[in-house]
Amino acid sequence: MAWIKTEIKLPKLFDEGDSRAIGEELINFIVERTKSGKGVDGKKFPKYSEAYKDSFEFKVAGKSSTVDLTLSGEMLDSLTVIEAAQGRVVIGFEKDDPNNDKAEGNILGSYGRDPDPSKARNFMDLSEREVTRVINSLNIQLDDGSNIIRNKPSEISQSALQRALQIVEDFNFQEDE
């Protein structure tokens, strides 16, 4: 099984916690970009084949012709930060995650066969411009000695995650008792 992961170099001012938080933002960027039908730098993915569009799975999943690499959504939901350190982060799938195979099929255009560049949808690729855009969106403020004085990514991430998990834990699924 291939191990699908991407290493991104970041400015050295980001410590391990910040790099991890930025990695999570980059995953979010990749997921949203992919769901809008676009790959690196906004390039559209190759269209789905007619056979796939006619399949039962395509119909029951309520898919449209937008190539969003989402059937159940499991592959994109499985993206995670694999490793973080000062000035670098690795994002991708856990080593033993079966979604590595799905991702490889999309990236190489192989889908269980030989690689076909005309069907390749490399959703994991990130350009320098995109990474910069994500970092700029974090609205970080530095003092003269390049220390983060406002919006430290790890701190924002920690607080936001706490609230996000609280919302999810409070989900109320009501079924006949």
Binding site: E24, E25, I27, N28, V31, K35, F56, E57, K59, V60, A61, G62, L71, S72, G73, E74, L76, D77, S78, T80, S137, L138, N139, N151, K152, E155, I156, S157, Q158, S159, A160, L161, Q162, R163, A164, L165, I167, V168, D170, F171, N172, F173, Q174, E175, D176, E177
Partner: protein
């Protein structure tokens, strides 16, 4: 300001902004549209997958041969096939899953039902080894990531 003080301040701010974000519709994606919790459950179940007790995605238990034969003789919904175990005969149970917001709490339930109440059908499915009306760990992670991103963005703008 020390890191611990900044964190305490952020914790306070994040608690305060939550109701405002919810009122402004920032989390409406949880109950409306393609990325909503009801849509995730419907789509995954129609594809034939449920959620185990440990939160793993798993194929729904196959249909019995006798039931498959019965399904071959009746008109099925467009999302059903005789052999496909996806909790879809007429499709009404899955169609009826809905979500709404109360403050910062999100409630998901079944509405109506013609021959029998849809929530009763769901209970029957669960009791017969086809649990589906919940989120898997992976689905939960994906949703939490999106909510977190919204809260992070709001915190950065304060």
């Amino acid at each position: 300001m020390k890191a611990s003080e900044r964190l305490a301040e952020l914790a306070k701010k994040s608690k305060t902004i939550l109701p405002d974000l919810a009122s402004a519709g920032a989390f409406n994606f949880l109950v409306e549209g393609k990325e909503s919790v009801p849509s995730i459950i419907k789509r995954r179940t129609r594809l034939g997958r449920g959620v185990s007790n440990s939160g793993e995605l798993e194929p729904l238990k196959p249909l019995s041969p006798k039931y498959v034969e019965r399904r071959k003789k009746i008109k099925l919904s467009e999302n059903a096939k005789p052999k496909k175990s996806n909790l879809t005969l007429t499709g009404s149970m899955l169609d009826s899953i809905n979500g709404f917001r109360r403050g910062t709490t999100f409630i998901f339930s079944f509405f109506g039902g013609t021959d029998k109440p849809n929530d009763l059908k769901a209970r029957y499915a669960r009791e017969n080894g086809r649990p589906f009306f919940k989120l898997s760990t992976t689905e939960t992670n994906g949703i939490a990531r999106k909510i977190k991103s919204i809260i992070s963005k709001a915190l950065r703008q304060l």
